[in-house]
């Protein structure tokens, strides 16, 4: 059960960051109708924070036993890759239209 939880960390973090950035984007569009410089800075900051959140987990995760695939770590890398790749549009795309 603990192992399953560890496997879920990476994808769950991705999900959380995705939700956070997506929600923030919706909030900014709903309030101001466009993402200005400040809004974009906030979005990029949220994205960066999300990426940063992976680093301590990657460090703290105990190594898998020998002769075994380190699936929790693979899950973390998958989550990190997905966070970087799927949310990088916050840096370039225009937003509320």
């Amino acid at each position: 059960m603990k192992w399953l939880g560890a496997v879920l960390i990476g994808p769950s973090l991705w999900f959380a960051v995705f939700l956070g950035v997506y929600g923030l984007h919706g909030l900014i569009c709903g309030q101001w109708g466009a993402v200005d410089t400040g809004g974009r800075a906030a979005l990029i900051a949220a994205w960066g924070l999300g990426i940063a959140a992976f680093l301590p987990v990657l460090r703290l995760l105990p190594a898998a036993p020998e002769h075994s695939i380190d699936l929790p770590r693979a899950g973390l890398w998958i989550g990190l890759g997905a966070t970087v790749f799927t949310l990088f549009p916050v840096t370039i795309t225009s937003s509320c239209g």
Binding site: M1, W3, V7, P11, W14, F15, F18, V21, Y22, H25, G26, C29, V35, H67, S68, I69, L71, A74, G75, I78, G79, G81, A82, F85, T86, L87, F88, P89, V90, T93, S94, S95, C96, G97
Partner: protein
């Protein structure tokens, strides 16, 4: 070939054997063992035996055969579609009938062919590959089959009477709402598909539990055959993927039947909520279909190339990535609904990214071919067909993930072409390969040379002739789902070409079916382990007996050529040899390392699954007939039968430990810490929790995103409902406390407290505002119903435990139904408290 290690073996066999040392049982004579096991595990005789069968071999094959029949029916419907489109004025079908036919073609292929086919494959193959004798819940396998069959028959009957669903297989509202689709057509889809989904959830639960708890001792999770990893991914996705569809279908059926607005924009609802719920299921569904196919590829390619799989670890990681990423890209089916560009970009990126784990697998398979020595047996033909077709389908999928191109190609024949490339390339070709590969194990027969190869070439030519050109048809502007195109003569030659080749394709499938039938009937006897495979599924006589293994394989038998371990296992040198106690016994192992945990006794042949699914069928039919009061009454026999069902699991008979191997005494499951049943309940609660989350997602979506009219001010004050809230919360928290106490009195107290909670729910229900007025009130009514149902079941479970005390079935060593009851109570209390918090928060904010 004995030096070939098991695909996916990462640790040398000796370290594995050291983890779990189990002494060999003394060898016996094989024939008496076989006779005894056959007697215990066989189906009853004749037709009655088919009705009462619970064996995974029987039911897995029957699932697959039934799915193939539905494939043929869906194929005939596609022929009608192609005949209609062959000419621009298509006087062949009238539009209403045409709409029913393409809707049924899609629905049948998805829900009555692909999903049941992969379930059947998993049910048939997994126990053999993992080294056990049956699935975790044999009666549930049978229940799933009957629900699938009855649901499918309801939909087919509707087609025969001309009242089949006609809104397209994704049933977009408001087209599928009561206003625009009066009549029962849409209800047939919503109720029929949901009925069939019972079998999907059932299969997902038992596949999960079987893979996690029934592997041969020593077959660690990290070393199990890749097919098991793929099916674990599939079943996890089914547990999380199907509930949004079920939630959406239930809401839409309630809207159609009782006019509660969930999708009606005039009353705060939103048609887009349906699309979100549908595609939250619909996109993972594509991977649910692809993963098992990829699983059989990963098993067959190494064997047919005389080598081991390349990159086992990378493939497992790729499965993990697919499982998660596929839940983050459903919006790519909705790129044209009007979503801001940045949001589109997120989902576009996620959709593109999902191609990476797919590429990892494809290259791992090609690398395996490089590493080994591929042999051009018939399954390899279909594998090559897979590579050609699926790669092209995957690439058009990447194109469709690119938003601007999607805006042009969406809902055109280009998408039709893409999805057929993916589904036929990524599912049908691997399944055809798998069928030819495992036919000897199913039938014990050798195939007749030549016909299979011919069928392959006809299918390949027919398929690409039909669908390759269809990409162009779509880019030339032809939308899907139109029946005539009198103003567009430029599409005529394209459509005519597709139509002609589609008949070639049909001939190919007919030849393929003929080949299988000839092999099953006229084929010569095949020898055991014909492929020289290193997996347990071939370490048994062919055709496989109902009990699979005369004695269960252990670490000593893993990673070896199947041909070398058939005899030792048949002579009872593994665990649990024979059936000396006259019971259907299997071994339950731990999740990670597969160390022996306890011995489970599985139920025998029974007609109960058929009876229960018939009772559910009566309910569905009464709902279809709009006889809602009677339908409510029809739930009583369902509840009674479920009680009888669970009674069948009650502790009885000798409770003495079983000597599973010399000197190794294992408890029987009534005295085990975590039984298969509890694992199954946990898996079910994951699905149930997703359903609940889907309802909350709906609530959040409708209150935050939907632009519709605000809810009218509430006529009920907080002071009026708070006492009921308090009573409900208090009763459930106290009931939870009672569960920890484990006495007869606690069971009675739990029953009483849950009944009090039920009273509070009813009190709330009478205070509900008119649910037809606004979506807010409709959602609150649905949540009230959801909680009421769970509290009712909790009361029933407490009463069941109290009844077990009365019968003297529970003792300090034998917990009976306590752990399951406790688990359910915890879930019920949690969802109730969450719901109360959400409703209070909603009231405070607005």
């Amino acid at each position: 070939m004995t030096d070939i290690p098991s695909p996916g073996q990462t640790a040398p066999a000796d370290t594995r054997a050291a983890t779990v040392h189990i002494p060999a049982s003394p060898a016996q004579r094989a024939l008496p063992l076989h006779r005894l096991l056959s007697q215990v595990w066989a189906n009853d005789d004749g037709l009655w035996g088919q009705i009462t069968a619970v064996s995974h071999t029987t039911l897995g094959l029957r699932f697959m055969a039934t799915a193939f029949v539905f494939f043929a029916i869906g194929g005939i419907l596609s022929m009608l579609i192609r005949a209609q489109l062959a000419t621009p004025d298509g006087a062949f079908l009238d539009t209403e009938l045409y709409n029913q036919i393409f809707t049924m073609h899609g629905s049948i292929m998805m829900f009555l062919f692909a999903i049941p086919m992969l379930e059947g494959l998993g049910i048939w193959l997994l126990p053999k590959m993992l080294g056990t004798r049956d699935m975790a819940f044999p009666r549930l396998t049978a229940l799933g089959y009957w629900c699938y069959l009855f649901g499918g028959l309801i939909m087919l009957t509707a087609l025969l009477f001309g009242v089949a669903p006609h809104d397209g297989w994704f049933m977009y509202t408001p087209l599928s709402s009561a206003e625009f689709s009066p009549g029962i057509n849409a209800d047939v889809w919503l109720l029929g598909v949901t009925f069939v989904e019972i079998s999907a959830v059932a299969a997902a639960v038992e596949i999960t539990v079987t893979i996690l708890r029934q592997r041969a001792p020593g077959m660690r999770l990290m070393e199990m055959p890749l097919f098991a990893w793929y099916m674990l991914g599939t079943s996890a996705m089914m547990l999380v993927g199907f509930p949004p569809l079920i939630a959406g279908s239930v809401l839409l059926e309630i809207e159609r039947a009782f006019d509660w607005p969930f999708f009606d924009p005039a009353r705060g609802g939103d048609p887009l909520l349906w699309q979100h719920l549908f595609w939250l299921f619909g996109h993972p569904e594509v991977y649910i279909i692809f993963l098992p196919a990829a699983g059989v590829m990963s098993m067959m390619i190494p064997v047919l190339c005389r080598t081991t799989i390349l990159g086992y670890g990378a493939i497992v990681a790729a499965i993990l990535a697919l499982v998660f990423l596929s839940f983050g890209l459903w919006v790519h089916h909705m790129f044209t609904v009007g979503i801001p560009h940045m949001a589109l970009a997120f989902f576009s990126a996620a959709s593109v990214l999902v191609a990476v784990p797919t590429a990892v697998q494809v290259f791992a398979w090609i690398g395996t071919m490089w590493k080994g020595h591929p042999q051009l047996h018939l399954p390899m033909y279909h594998i090559l067909g897979f590579f050609l077709t699926f790669v092209m389908g995957g690439l058009t999928g990447v194109m469709l993930a690119i938003v601007p191109f999607n805006w042009q190609a969406h809902d055109t024949a280009f998408v039709t072409a893409h999805l057929h490339y993916v589904l036929i390339g990524g599912f049908v070709f691997p399944m055809m390969a798998a069928a030819t590969y495992w036919m000897p194990l199913m039938t014990g027969k050798r195939r007749i040379k030549g016909l299979g190869e011919a069928a392959f070439w006809v299918i390949l030519i027919g398929f690409h002739g039909t669908f390759f050109i269809m990409h162009l048809t779509g880019l030339m502007g032809m939308p899907r789902r139109i029946d005539v195109y009198p103003d567009n003569p430029e599409w005529i030659w394209l459509n005519l070409t597709s139509s002609i080749f589609s008949f070639v394709l049909t001939i190919g499938f007919a030849l393929y079916a003929l080949d299988l039938i000839l092999q099953a009937t006229l084929g010569k006897r095949e020898s055991r382990d014909p492929w020289g495979a290193p997996t347990l599924d071939w370490a048994m006589p062919i055709p496989s007996p109902n009990y699979n293994f005369a004695s269960l394989p252990t670490a000593r038998h893993l990673g070896r050529d199947a041909g070398d371990i058939i005899v030792p296992l048949a002579r009872g040198e593994g665990m649990l040899p024979g059936a000396p106690r006259g019971r259907r016994e299997i071994l339950v192992t731990s999740v990670g390392d597969a160390t022996p945990d306890h011995v489970a006794m599985l139920p025998g042949n029974t007609a109960l699954p058929l009876v229960l699914s018939s009772a559910i069928c009566v309910f569905v039919l009464l709902m279809l007939a709009s006889l809602y009061a009677l339908a409510g009454l029809a739930l009583l026999p369902v509840a009674a039968l479920i009680w009888v069902w669970v009674r069948g699991m009650a502790p009885q008979g000798a409770m003495t430990p079983v000597e599973a191997a010399p000197g190794l005494h294992l408890p029987i499951h009534h005295r085990a810490t975590t039984t298969l049943g509890q694992s199954g309940l946990m898996a079910f609660l994951v699905a149930n929790g997703t359903l609940f989350s889907s309802l909350l997602f709906g609530l959040a979506f409708l209150s935050v995103v939907t632009p519709g009219p605000a809810a009218p001010p509430s006529a009920v004050s907080a002071a009026q409902v708070l006492p009921a809230f308090a009573l409900l919360a208090a009763a459930l928290v106290l009931a939870l406390g009672a569960m920890g106490w484990r006495r007869a009195g606690a069971a009675w107290a739990g029953t009483a407290l849950n009944l009090a909670a039920l009273g509070a729910v009813l009190w709330l229900a009478v205070q509900l505002e008119n649910p037809t007025a606004h979506t807010r009130d409709a959602l609150r009514a649905v949540l009230t119903g959801y909680i009421g149902l769970h509290v009712l079941v909790a009361a029933g479970m407490s009463a069941f435990v109290a009844d077990q005390y009365r019968r003297g079935e529970i003792s300090p060593e034998v917990p009976g139904a306590w752990p399951s009851c406790n688990l359910w109570q915890r879930y019920t209390t949690a969802v109730t408290l969450i719901t109360l918090a959400v409703v209070i928060a909603q009231g405070v904010i607005t």
